[in-house]
């Protein structure tokens, strides 16, 4: 069996003493699916049962119908559960004049410290005017930005070399989820650009695909993410906990890497 963390996971032992920060979470319902345990209270209860310290969350409402209301929902969770939620400020790029005021509100009034982009849902190019405003803001605040997609590898490279104080988190790229797709270009960028990291979240977990990516890009460039409460938090954790990797690499991926990128985890 693969190490102490795997043995603890197989017993369902609460993971006290291991820093676990989920870099890709959401909050609230998303009605195309029947969501379960998606309120902040339910999420914290499940985090407590497993031993997850914190999740970085954006509201489904923030991404979809009403970004202000969604950001307020996340801010309320941050207030009611100190230390358990890192807020992803989320904007709708189709409202360009609202981008900077909303980001300033999120960071300066709502205690959010990172940004979430979803260019696919918004059908908006990641190098469009609104996102460029947001990246300028993130660069000034030295913030982490998680994006569902960064367009092409060339575009990510140009953005990451221009905004060197931004930490770029590439969603859904810390694994190989289709043996037909050539991941080497993305993996090369994540490995070589110092401010680019890979997020693990994905519903599909091919056997061996995560370990292969970790060995390609290095454990120090991989961030655990679950997409919870869309996905079951423990299901997603299992990919790391029972992986064919050593425990120090797993601990980097589970929390230590992200603790260096977002405020509040100086331990």
């Amino acid at each position: 069996m693969a190490g102490e963390l795997a043995e603890r996971a197989m017993c369902g032992e609460k993971l006290d003493g291991v820093l676990i920060i989920d870099g890709h979470a959401h909050m609230g319902p998303w009605c195309p699916l029947q969501a379960l345990a998606c309120s902040a209270n339910d999420m914290v209860a499940y985090m407590d049962a497993i031993g997850v310290d914190a999740v970085c969350a954006s509201g489904f409402l923030s991404i979809t119908a009403d970004f202000r209301l969604g950001n307020d929902m996340v801010a309320d969770a941050i207030r009611r559960h100190p230390g358990r939620f890192v807020g992803y400020a989320t904007i709708n790029p189709h409202y360009p004049t609202d981008v900077l005021p909303e980001l300033e509100r999120c960071f300066d009034e709502l205690n959010m410290t990172a940004l979430k982009f979803h260019p696919a849902w918004h059908s908006y190019p990641v190098d469009g005017h609104s996102y460029m405003q947001a990246l300028e803001f993130a660069n000034d605040r030295r913030a982490l930005v998680l994006s569902h997609t960064w367009g092409t590898p060339a575009l990510l490279e140009s953005l990451a070399t221009k905004y060197t104080d931004v930490s770029f988190l590439v969603a859904h790229h810390a694994h190989i989820n289709s043996p037909d797709i050539d991941h080497t270009v993305w993996a090369g960028l994540i490995r070589d650009l110092p401010n680019v990291y890979a997020d693990l979240a994905s519903s599909v977990a091919l056997m061996g695909g995560f370990e292969l990516m970790v060995r390609t890009v290095g454990a120090h460039k991989v961030i655990f993410g679950s997409d919870t409460p869309l996905h079951d938090l423990a299901y997603q954790l299992g990919r790391v906990l029972l992986a064919d990797l050593d425990d120090e690499d797993k601990k980097d991926i589970l929390g230590r890497n992200l603790a260096r990128l977002v405020p509040g985890f100086d331990r």
Partner: protein
Amino acid sequence: MEDLPNNTGCKFLDLFDCHCAFGSYSAPGLKVFRSASHIRAEMDRVGIGEALVYSNVARECDTQIGNNELLRAVAVDDRLHPAWVLTPDLGSWLPSFGERVDRMLQAGVRAAYMFPTFHQFTLSPWQVDGLLSELSEHRVPLFLDFGNKHWSERLTDWDAVDAVCGRFPELPVVMVHEGLASVRTLTPLLARNPNLHVEISYFQPNTGIKVFAQEFGPDRLLFGTGMPVYDPGCPISMIAYAPISVEWKQAIAGCNLRRLLGGVC
């Protein structure tokens, strides 16, 4: 906020994987189980005691060659249990469904896998009832895999599944590799059909194990991995950390499958 059980001091789960494939694939894959020892090595790595195994050669090309190859591969292995891939082929030149199921049972095979989408058949009575009536008579668990690879796909014919469960109430039916988008559909179907079960290799709604076990009882969920295509760590961790009793976890981990296989007559 609801208090959930504090996960300390649980014992290891007695895992019996109901969804494991043996043999080669035509598609480029990351892992392949070419022998029983390959399967056992991965089972040992993640603590799985036993597995119900079907042949991918049988799924992908030739049921006869694949099913027989599987029998030879696992013949002397008390941890690996064969499941045959069946198609509802009907013709006067073929053995009857009764003869085919008898042959399966005589070979020690106590479970059947069917792939309606990939094998291009319907679950309509005129298509499958001859075969399903034989399986039902012997209480052979039927694992139905509609080929969904992502939760956004809608390949499963839920009306047909509902109808099969209703026509054959003694037939244990197990839905394989259904995703989180099936919550809305599975909830009324499980309520309507006591013989319907869910294999959980890809079933990952947040705290779904607890919600479904509380709603329908723990005996409706079966541990499966989808190895060698899918990562076994995910469903193992999901059961281990499910906020339910250890007894319920053990039921899902393996007892339910043992009960279904033990019910074959």
